[in-house]
Symmetry: C2
Subunit: 460 residues, 2 copies
Amino acid sequence: MKAERRDQRSAVLLDSLRKLLRRGANVHLLNLLQRIHPGDIPPIFNVLTETESHEVLKLLIEKDLTRAADIASALHPQTASEILSRFEIPDISRLLQLCSSDDAAEIVASMTDELREHVLSQMRREEGEEVQDLLSYPEETAGRIMSPNFFALSEETSAGDAIKALRSKPDVEMVFYLYVVDSREHLLGVVSLRQLILIDPGTPIRGIMIPNVVSVRTDADQEEVARIVSKYDFLAVPVVDDQNCLVGIITVDDVIDVIRDEATEDFYKLAGTSEDERVQRSVLGAAKLRLPWLTVSLVEGILVVSIFATYQKWDVITKVILMVGFLPMLAGMGGNIGTQSATIVVRGLATGRFALKEIGTVLFREMRIAGILGIGYGVLLSGASYFLPELPPTAAAVIGASIFLIMILAAAIGSFLPMICARISVDPTIATGPFLTSLMDIVGMVVYFELIRLLMPKGI
Amino acid sequence: MKAERRDQRSAVLLDSLRKLLRRGANVHLLNLLQRIHPGDIPPIFNVLTETESHEVLKLLIEKDLTRAADIASALHPQTASEILSRFEIPDISRLLQLCSSDDAAEIVASMTDELREHVLSQMRREEGEEVQDLLSYPEETAGRIMSPNFFALSEETSAGDAIKALRSKPDVEMVFYLYVVDSREHLLGVVSLRQLILIDPGTPIRGIMIPNVVSVRTDADQEEVARIVSKYDFLAVPVVDDQNCLVGIITVDDVIDVIRDEATEDFYKLAGTSEDERVQRSVLGAAKLRLPWLTVSLVEGILVVSIFATYQKWDVITKVILMVGFLPMLAGMGGNIGTQSATIVVRGLATGRFALKEIGTVLFREMRIAGILGIGYGVLLSGASYFLPELPPTAAAVIGASIFLIMILAAAIGSFLPMICARISVDPTIATGPFLTSLMDIVGMVVYFELIRLLMPKGI
């Protein structure tokens, strides 16, 4: 099927699903739900109301628990956990037993502590323990997102036996790579399924395995995992503990989710809100998430008003009030070039394009770019303002010089702040977005008013 | 090897490489270059000077062309093309012949038209034509990024023959999925390598293939391709022409590059600069890329000064000059909440979280969030300004009402603009970033001054 036709189909699916729900045509509804690809489910559930989602899942839990588990795994974990929380604990536990343990761990992690404990205690021993093990690793680490259901072989196994072993394990993940371990589970190497079928069945896999396989530690940050998988074009990466024992694998589809989530998280942070808005259903809740950065604007506003009042008291701005009209532009240009520098740095650090120790080079480069632009715009604007009859000639000089200074300062602050954040292990994205813009408003204002004081001591 | 050790190794590699380059120790240098994983190459080349990169590649082209091709493929295509452009045409052609044709196409696409033609004409017939075919598709489409070296079988083939066929083609990409076609190359289905080894060698693959395989058309946008691969957790997706004939495949590692590149592109656009900055080496060039959005600030500034001058002429602002001091905060808050709404919409459209037809729901939701925040901040600020002795009591009402109005307007504009852009097929990211902030500065100013005119007709 073509992509476009699929998208149309998604809308058609939603319509039929709602119609069947309204009519209570459970047999047809079940039939429809069993035919949908789990990948098509999330967009549909994003549109359904809470009651509708509940009804759909209720039907599946009663009639086809495996399908219910597939669908819960396909949803955003927080969405899944919200919908599931409205069911009876034994139902939740039975459903999660059928999810892969990394999906189940993500879902229960979003539940209240109390509910999570109850749900885990009612799961089958083995599955419950696997989930609990994953939850023992910190969020956003390799240990937390790995799947403990991998396929590992001893180095003595022959290629033929390896294939036989594979046949007996239909539910392990990602069998295109087979990991080789010694008797104490230490990771020794990797064999691809392709190599396996190319050689004589009698050959021990020790002979064809690639040693020195790249692995990640359980405590590696998920962004680091994503960086490695994309850098080396892997389909999966093995996860080892501090003894180099193989404890799980992370497959490329999970890595894609990490990359998307991290990018979304960064976009939201840039805009001064939180990733939780994706799944936050209430308007009041969303408003609360946006409060912190708007409060930054508020504090900025109070600072600006006080600085403004001070300069007014000093008679700096009363005489040529039109000059105040240049303030938004000066602040805006500073904010923009500052954001540009910060974006280069933040994105450069995120994609591994440059390292922290290159701070000097980047800073100098950004300041030169800003310098060139500052001279250009400075000359342009002071030229233009020279011909404004309301302004004295010195005003042109003040405006030009302000633009130049503000832009260089903005580039310096914009590239330096995220680096400082990264150095002290604070997310550098924090230093972009609303905070930087607010800071540049204030810096721009003070530079401008100070230059007026300096170069136009008598007002006009 | 652990991730951390790998990063350290990267720094060590760079140091050794430079040392060997300076000493002209070519034998050791070659040996080092042959041992580095191509995935480790890009960060090193990002730091090397142009001359150093040239020397490294020159040595490899002379001594180990295959390795040179691997390294060129691993680099960002624009970087590779810049470095290669300094070599003789026959050398470039010989090297590109050894790259996979999708990589070669990406590299020559960044060259000047003249150089590209010469390079292509000197490549071996088959490879040159493959690259030319890929280049005939528009940029950022499935046809442009696909690999034409896939593995397809007739539906009559038996599982055993399929495995034999696989053994004879060591250089095709992604053999974990085998596509099944009819005699006229129409895509019929897909078989996974895992299924293939599980069944009796005599079974025809028709019996085990999954029919109705999801495919993309050559003209599908690369973002759409990425969305499909990540939605269905594919390792590769087949590309078909308008006759449903299989013409190529796109593997998950290329999809990861697309996701990363598109995210970076969006971040850069948000900041009002272009993705080309990633590979732009000159400061002047980078400055030029940032001009357009700074010019938006400039135009905004000119508008603001004229609007300011008009209201000054009408005596709206001269009497209570301190009220002008509230302007940056009002504009800032509008800009921030507008950016938040726009980000929700842009990211929602990009990740497929909601569809264009939900515009009404999203708009209403954003306006309600802004309304709640507007009432909160409006009451807070008008309360605070009530106690400022310099301001008349009506000023408090004006400030409170402005905050409320500006925030609702900002949310409406911020969520509506990207939707309009998406509807008319303009990148919605354009409507976020500097343009929105500038627009909100002006809207905020006019709302504020109009409310002053309306509620404070006599000034103080």
